[in-house]
Symmetry: D2
C-alpha cells in the first residue's frame, strides 16, 4: 500500500460541565467546556477498524463528569492535569493526552437578602487552558479569546512603505481596537516543580496585558502586541512564551464634509471585514517557541 | 392584476456607529448598531420600479452618521427619536419611521496613570431600543438580549400533567438557567409628556429584573417570568408592558452511579438543544399589549 | 395586583429529529428541527407556579419523536399538522398549538455501486413550515431562509429622492444580490378542504420565486420583491399571501483608477454591513394579511 | 532586554472579492474571501513602532482587488500564486507570503429565456486554498470545510476498550455522520514543475473522498477517515498528504419503548455537543507531513 498513517488523535470534544460547590447557603460555580484528545498506538483502528486499543470517546466524556465529582474543579488547568494524567497512565496504548478547556465566568447577582446562589454570566472573554502530557513532561498553555479592547487616542500609523497599490493616508490620531486572542506557555513541565497558582496567574496576566494595551502610545499594532507580551514575560516568571492574534478592528472616521460638518475624531464607522491581522510570539530570552503559529483559521 | 401590495418597509440596517466624546483627557464612548425602517407612500416603487418617493437607504445611513455629530448620542432612545422625527417630518411620502438600536457597553481599563481613553467591552447583555413615530404618536420599546442568568437552587418542577408520552421525573431541587430576551414599552407617547430618563430607566429595570429572578423561589419558569415582569411594572411607572422570551437552558444532573459515585446536585451537563421556551407578556392593568409575540424566530 | 398576564406560550424548541425510511437497500431521509409552542388556560402557572395545567416541555419533545415513528414524516407540514392536532385535542387546557419546523435537505452521493444509504447535505436554503391550530381553524405558513441569489446585470437604481444627506451616485448597471427570507400562507384552513400537496407546492413556489428574481429587469429591489411575490400568487392557487425580507447585499464596484486600471463592472467588494433591508407583503386581491411584519429581528 | 520576538506575520484578512467575467450575455462568477499574511524583516516595527519595512495591510487589500482585474481569477490557487509571488518579489523586507482563500460556489438559475447572469449560491462546502511562497519554494494546500455527509447504515462500533468509566453499548448498525474538514498538499513546489489543473484536481479529489466515505463499510470513523485519505493519494498523483478533522456527529437512536413503540433504526436524535472528534494525516509513503495538526480550534 503506497499510503501510510501520520499524526492522529481522537476524543470527545466540547463536554459542557457545570460544577456547583455548596458552602452552606453560598454556592460557587465552575462552568467549563472540555475537549479530550488522545493519541498513541492507534494504527490498527485506522487500517482495519479494530477498536482493540480504542477507549471510546463516550468513555472520555464520562470521565470528565466523574472527575468533576472525584477531584472537584479547582481551576481549569488543575482539572485538565487530573484528566491528562489519568488517560496516559491508565491505558497502555495511549501515549499522549491533550485536554483543551474553555471557561466562562459568572458574577453574583446583588440582592436585598443573602442569595448566594444567583449568578449572571460575566460575558467578557473566554478563558482557555490546554494541558498536554506524554507520561513524562507537562505542557500547559493558558490564554483567552474574545476580549475586545479599544484606545480612543494615542495611536498613530505613518512612515510605512508606499508602492503602486498604496492609497492609505497617514494617521496621527486614530482609534486602535482589537479582539484579543492570546496564549501563554508556562515553564512548569514536571511534577517535581512547584505548580503555579493557576487562577492568580490568569488574573495577573490579564491585568498586565490590559495595562500594557492601555499604556502603550502606539505607532503600530505590532508595537502594542510586543509590549503586551513583554509586560507579561517581565512580570510573570512562570510564563516563558506568549502569542497573540490581534485583528485590527478598523474604526474609520466618517467623512461628514458633504453635509457641511467637521468630524474632529468623533464619529466612526466600525467595520467588520476586511481587518488587519497581526500575529506574533514574544519569548523569554533563551526559550524555545512551542505555541503553534495560527491561533485562528483565517 | 389579481395581487396587491400589503405592508412594506425599507431602510439601511446595521449601521455601526461609534461616537467618542472628549472631556479633556477623559473620553466617553457610545457604540451602537442602528437599523432604519421607513414606510409610507411606496406603492409605485413596488409596482413600476419608480424611485420618485424613495429616499435611498444609503442616505438613511449617512443621516445616522451625520446625526451622531449634529445631535450627539445622549442615549440610544434619544438618538432614535432624533432620527425618526427627521425622516417623518422631512420627507412627505414617509409616514412612519422605526429605528432599532443595539448598544454595546464598555468599561474603563484600570491603569496606573490617568488613561481615560482605554476601554474593554463589557460583553454582557446587548441593550436594545426601538423607536417608532408616525408623525403624531411615539412608541418606545427598550429591552435587552443575551443576558445569561442562573439560580443553582430554589427551583422545583412537579405536579404537572402526565400523559402517555410523559417520562420526566419530578424535581424538587434543580438548576434554573435562562438567556433573557426582554422588551418593555414606555407610556411616553407624546412630545407634550415629560420624557423618561432613558439610561437610568434601563439600569433600574435591569436591576429589578435580575433581583426578581434571584429572589423568586421558583415552581416553574413561567412563575419566575411573571415575577420578573411584575417587579418591573411595580417599580417603574414609565413602563406599561413587558415581554420576555426565556429559553430554559437545561442543566441535567449527570448520573454518576455507574461509577460508584453519588451526585448530590453537584455535577451537571449543560445542554444546548432542545430547550424549553417560555414566553409571556406582563401588563399594567388596563393597558393594551403592543409588543409582538415572537421576540425570536424559533 | 396592578399587573396582569397577557399572551403567553410555551413548549420545547429545536427538537432535532432525523427519520430514516428503508425501502430495501434504498434509504430515505427526513431531517427536521421542530419547535412546539402551546397556549391556553395557563394563568395559574404564572401567578402561583401551579403546574396542574402544564404538559411538560419534555413531554412535547417525546411526542415529536414518538410521532416520527407513529405517523412517519411525509412532509414538514403534514408532520406539524399531526402534532398540532394532538396537543389541542388531547389536553383540555391547551387551546392553541403552533409547530415551527426547519427542514434540511440531503442529496445522494453518487457511487460506483448501489449505495442507497449515503448522503451529502445539500446546504442551500433551509425550508420552513409553521402550523397553527386552535381546534377549529388551521393556518399553514411555509417558507425558506438563507437562499442567496445574485443577478450580475439587469439592475439599475436612479431617480430617487435627494436630500442634504444624499451622496449616492445613480447606477445604471449594478449587481443585485440578496439572501431571501420568505414566507407564504396557504388558503387551506379546514379539514374539510382538500389539503395541498406540500412538497410539490414547495418545489414549485421556490422555482417561480427564483425565476421571477432572474427574469425581472430591476429598477429597485422593491420591484423585484413584488414580482417574486406576484409570480407565486399568480401560479399557485393554494397560496394567498407572501412576505419577503430581502437584505440588499451590496456589491460595491472597486475604484481601480488609482492603480491605472479601468473597472468595467468586473471587480466588486462584497460588503457585510450595513445593508439595505427591503420587506414587503404581496396579497391575493381580497385576502387579509396575517404573516407578521418582521421575519428577522433587525 | 529579557524578551525577544519570535515568529510573526501580518496582513489584511477576509478581503471579499467577487469577479464577474462577461462572455457575451453569459456571465461567470468567482466569489472569494482572501486573507494575506506576510512575514520577513519585521523586528523594528515590533520593538520601536517604526513602519519603515511595513507595507500597509490596506495596500495588501488593494492588491487583491487590483490583481482580480490584472490577472483575473482562473482558480483560487492560481490567484493566490500571483499574489504571493508579488509580495515576496516586490518588497525586499518580505521573505514569505501566505495567501489563504475561501471560495463559495454558485449555480445558474434555470429560466425560460437565456438569463446567463442569474445565480443561486450552492451553499454546500466552502472550498479552501492556502498558497505559501518564500521566494524559492511553493507550498499549496487545498481543502474544504463544512461538507456534511451521512451513511444511514453500514457502520458498526464494538470491540473497544472498557474501563470503569465505560457505559457505551456496542452498536452493530448505526448512523455515521460527519462534517468534513479536509486539507491536501500538492507536490508542486517549483515553478519548473508542471502546475496541476487546480479546478479539475479539486472536483476529482472531492469526488473520490465522497465515494470513499460512501463505499467504506465502517467499523470506526478512524477507518473511514483513513480510507478517504488513501483513496485520494491513490488516485491523485499531484497530492502527497491529506489531513482530516472529522467530528462524529452523533445520531442517537431514541428510546421509544416507554411509549410502547419499537424503534427499528428509524428515529434518531441529532445531537450537537459533545461530539467525537477524529483527526488524522494520510501520507504518500516516503513523504513528509507538513499540514498542521489542528485544523480547528477545539
Amino acid at each position: 500500500m503506497p499510503t501510510i498513517l501520520g499524526q492522529n488523535q481522537y476524543g470527545k470534544a466540547e463536554n459542557r460541565v457545570v460544577k456547583i460547590t455548596r458552602d452552606g447557603a453560598t454556592h460557587h460555580i465552575k462552568d467549563l467546556n472540555v475537549s479530550v484528545s488522545l493519541s498513541g498506538d492507534m494504527d490498527e483502528v485506522h487500517y482495519s477498524g479494530s477498536n482493540a486499543n480504542v477507549l471510546p470517546t463516550d468513555t472520555t466524556k464520562n470521565t470528565v463528569y466523574a472527575f468533576a465529582k472525584e477531584h472537584g474543579i479547582e481551576s481549569a488547568e488543575q482539572f485538565g492535569i487530573h484528566l491528562a494524567r489519568h488517560f496516559v497512565t491508565s491505558q497502555e496504548p495511549i501515549r499522549t493526552a491533550r485536554i483543551r478547556i474553555e471557561e466562562y465566568s459568572w458574577e453574583r447577582i446583588e440582592t436585598s437578602g443573602e442569595a448566594g446562589h444567583s449568578f449572571v454570566r460575566k460575558g467578557q472573554e473566554t478563558r482557555l487552558a490546554q494541558i498536554t502530557f506524554d507520561g513524562e513532561r507537562w505542557e500547559v498553555v493558558s490564554g483567552l479569546k474574545d476580549l475586545v479592547v479599544m484606545n480612543s487616542t494615542d495611536s498613530e500609523f505613518w512612515g510605512y512603505v508606499k508602492d503602486k497599490y498604496t492609497t492609505l493616508q497617514e494617521a496621527h490620531d486614530r482609534i486602535l481596537a482589537t479582539q484579543v486572542s492570546g496564549r501563554w506557555r508556562f515553564n512548569w513541565t514536571d511534577d517535581e516543580q512547584e505548580m503555579p497558582h493557576w487562577d492568580e496567574s490568569y488574573e495577573q496576566t490579564k491585568k498586565h496585558m490590559l495595562q500594557a494595551f492601555a499604556e502603550t502610545y502606539s505607532l503600530s499594532l505590532q508595537q502594542t502586541l510586543y509590549q503586551m507580551g513583554a509586560r507579561i514575560i517581565d512580570n510573570r516568571s512562570e510564563i516563558d512564551e506568549v502569542r497573540f492574534s490581534l485583528p485590527n478592528k478598523h474604526h474609520f472616521l466618517v467623512d461628514l464634509e458633504p453635509f457641511g460638518l467637521k468630524n474632529d475624531n468623533e464619529v466612526y464607522f466600525a467595520a467588520d471585514r476586511p481587518y488587519g491581522l497581526i500575529e506574533g510570539t514574544i519569548l523569554r530570552d533563551g526559550c524555545e517557541a512551542r505555541i503553534p503559529v495560527d491561533l485562528t483559521n483565517l
